[in-house]
Amino acid sequence: MSRLSTGGLIDRTRPLKFTFDGKQYSGFEGDTLAAALLANEVRLVARSFKYHRPRGILTAGTEEPNALVTLREGARAEPNSKATAVPLYDGLVASSQNRWPSLGFDLLALNQLASPIFVAGFYYKTFMRPAALWEKLYEPLIRRAAGLGALSGLPDPDSYDRKHAFCDLLVIGAGPSGLAAALTAGRSGLRVILADDDMAMGGHLLKERSEIAGAAGADWAAGVVEELASYPNVTLLPRTGVFGVYDGHEYGAVERVSDHLPEPLPGQPRQRFWKIVARHALLASGAIERPLIFPGNDRPGVMMASAVSAYLNRFAVAPGKKAAIFTSCDTGWQTALDLQAAGIGVAAVVDTRAQMPALADRLDLSDCVVALQGAIVDIKGSKSVKGATIRDGSGKETSVVCDLVAMSGGWNPAIGLGSNFGNRPVWSEELNAFLLDKAPPGFSPVGSAAGRMSLTSALGDGIRAATEVVQQLGKSPAEMAIADVAETGGTSENMLWVPSGIEGKAFVDFQNDVTASDIKLAASEGFVSIEHLKRYTTMGMATDQGKLSQLNGHGLLAEETKKTIAEAGTIMSRPPYTPIALGVIAGHHRGEHFRPVRHTASHDWAAENGAAFVDVGQWKRAQWFVQPGETEWRTSVDREVKATRGGVGICDVSTLGKIDVLGPDAATLLDRLYANMFSTLPVGRARYGLMLREDGFVMDDGTATRFAEDRYYVTTTTANAARVMQHIDFARQVIWPELDVQATSVTEQWATYSIAGPQSRAVLQALLPDIDLTNEAFKFMAAGEYRWRGTKIRLFRVSFSGELAYEISIGANRGRQLLEAIMEAGAPFGIVPYGTEALGVMRIEKGHPAGNEMNGQTTAGDLGMGRMLSTKKDFIGRAMAQRPGLTDPGRMSLVGLKPIDPAATLRAGAHLLAKGAEPKAANVQGRVTSAAFSPTLGYSIALALVTGGQERIGEEMLLNDIVRATDVPVEICDAVFVDPAGERLRG
């Protein structure tokens, strides 16, 4: 065990058991998985992406590129979890990834020997020929050898939630500046949300031995968090990562509600998606330490200096017994002090600079090699560090024995979120780092994210920024003073050190196995822009998105291309800042709840009566009703059609769009919306209507019924209900706002049933004995409002099937009651319920165009309805429908098709060729839009759009179906197959 006997922010009274690669260990409450592994002296935790090199724990945060593990087992297994960010819980199970057969002995590490072919862009070069082998051999091979963890492939057993929040100030990050800002705003009465990725709030205060107001930094942070928690106007969100900035002051965040538990508590989601609208946001995300580039810098035991300090101070874990420090700034020296304070020997401090910092005075330098203007040039050991070779300013090399190397290349402000809006960061000569020049509206970086690196300046900056927000919102800021700050670290320049003349694998991007020589190779091959460099070398890709590697890589590229780093620039980041689970974006919307489902009033009745349902938009519609003994859907559909045409059938048509158009100018508006005339429609009559789009093509059809001079009731197709409502609102609000007309959707109000067939009148008369339904009294297209058992109903004599038919509507609350009453009244007449499939068959038999024909590319003329276009008035689409291209007699127009051989099957989508024509695109003269077997006729029929249309009736053509490899000779016929004279529906 390398647990220190004292210190740390862990709870030693709460030991936790966990398993890594099948072996059991223990840690404490407050540990991360990485801390607990280190405490158990587990150094080797992963294999690298490409070369399968042994990797350890590099950092102590979410920027970790190496220590990626699969957390949990079975369906809950989550690959690529960062051990450095996983809170330890009792019973945690984790395993290593990307190794075979085991982590300690990985045969695929042989890839290293083949490393000359695994250089930058290797897959563009090496596996090119023969091309046929790519899919069969190369790609599967590469996918197996290179990669990250694997998904379980099992359905996710957990649930995900969503919440919307609104605040005056969102503080992203609860380090020194974030806490100071939240405290200022909270005390000033602002609505504040403070979110931090970590399980504990305090940021670097938890990891450093600083002091504020006479207390340890971590204690001060705990006190601030306690005070903030007491304010009703402050929301604290630990374990919550803000991952994106969006337009309109919106922020996306994921709260890991249950990830610190073995599994979510009953009813609780695993994670919660937060959509936060914040009038102001402060990016207090701190800074990320840069690695140094030297051979062997990826060996287990080489760690970021700040991570070494974090393991010592926060987790009371010694990541090694003897350390060497390699630094280009004061941070390495501070880590050396932290190590010595914990009783761990420091074998060497190597600084790239020429002078020792003031900090060094506090270090015990006996038994410690100090090399200025120096570098570590080699690391001994493979699965763990065994020593380091140091070259000093004079070129002299010394070897030291150590099992830990702490490196620090300076600090990069963590500004990723601030570049979400396309703001390219700019180079600061003063800080040797990229900073945000411009930020999204209402968003500003603060503290070390803004380059205020010292504790004093970060705290002050947090107070300043929050005070400004309070003032902008017209409130009075609380007086703030934070006294007696004892800094850790130093204030020296934060230099960017780019090494030269290194030999051996010196990693720039640990996660993608991109080395310094890869960057040079890419530059020499002409990939000199940072964006191209990223795509070519993969530097900055995958789960860490280059949080550690980016700047070093760009520094090397600048060096290679003889540019300054300011000229080379850096990339912008896009959401998510850290990876998020797709499940949390989907939230409740998965499986059968993927989208809302709409049920009609008699849905349950249909289900109880054998309905098979089909999705029509969000609606569930009965497609057919299975009777006992029916095993084929066609049997059910054929029976429903025959029963309806031979007797009577009933169909739930409640899903049709229904709109009340009301007011003194209702008639005027409908005249302008429909191609045909509606102002002349008498009260108590319905009329079929056709709507065009303004470009002259058909938009939708339906009926409009006039119930009073100023009351029309409009129906639309199911598919276009919302679009027509929007179209009507556009016409009355945008085009003709001067009209006094109101409109509202009543789709949900009315349950509507179509009763069709020669016996439909008799059924209705039995249901409604007091109404005179004789043909003389209630003609085709008549409509009226009546009562049924005291409740208002509406009756329409309209037909879609071509039969004598009625539609009856009632308030949907009584829809099922009415349907049951009709079934009862219809029983003596053999009434059957029919579904959308029979409805479709009957409308094809009757030649009624529907969605397949009104497909947005057809004109009224194409559908045989050209005469409906009124010449007496203006209407939407009138002018454009007259264009030569839309009135060309050569356009494809609607006809019917019947097979020469009555046994042949016609299928939708097939193409029509002139008899004897070669089957190629240029010869296609039409296509089938709808096809069905007609039980009425006893053979397959179809509706088709054909060049020349009606002119070709009687002509034999070939129906060519390339997809299903069939050729069927057909005869063009009139689109109306059944009762062309319309005697049935008028009888």
Binding site: D161, H164, H588, R595, P596, Q742, E748, N813
Partner: protein, 167 residues
């Protein structure tokens, strides 16, 4: 829905869409109905009626008196001031009550329901879980009434149940 103790179905409420004619103001409507009719998204009641502002010049009218003639009395009172359309069957209606009610709605609606922003009398027509809803706050309990298109009530109830389980 039985599993959620702070949400109950409200049956037997008559509903209608009230749409002001051209040039008619909320004050004109209020004059005819003898109570202050909101011109903003808000809920007001009087004369045995409740009116929820759903848009400029449009309201959802509510009456708890069951009446086969609904909404003819309302139409008669408004005369040529407004068009009226019966919606009694168009919506399912719920009463949500207690601290959990606000939290539940905030999980769903992308509007600010903090007492600073949404108080007794406030109303909103919006979306919860991709489902169109309208709700209004009745008092500071807080209690809310909510309507959803009847065809989507099962989907909304499923959402109610799954969110309520986490509260």
């Amino acid at each position: 829905m039985d599993k959620v103790d702070f949400i109950s179905r409200r049956e037997n409420v008559s509903l209608a869409a009230v749409m002001a004619r051209k040039g008619v103001t909320a004050a004109d409507i209020g004059g005819a109905l003898a109570f202050e009719v909101p011109k903003e998204p808000a809920y007001r009641s009087g004369s045995g009626l409740g009116l929820v502002g759903t848009g400029p010049g449009t309201w959802l009218a509510l009456s708890e008196t069951l009446d086969n003639e609904w909404p003819s009395a309302l139409e008669a009172a408004l005369g040529s001031l407004a068009s009226v359309s019966d919606q009694s069957s168009g919506y399912a209606m719920y009463r949500l009550s207690g601290a959990n009610a606000r939290e539940l709605l905030q999980r769903g609606a992308t509007i600010d329901l903090d007492p600073l922003a949404f108080t007794a009398g406030s109303a909103a027509t919006t979306v919860i879980s991709h489902i169109g809803v309208a709700f209004w706050q009745l008092d500071d309990t807080p209690a809310y009434d909510l309507v959803v298109f009847r065809s989507m009530r099962e989907s909304l109830e499923h959402w109610f149940e799954s969110v309520a389980a986490s509260l």
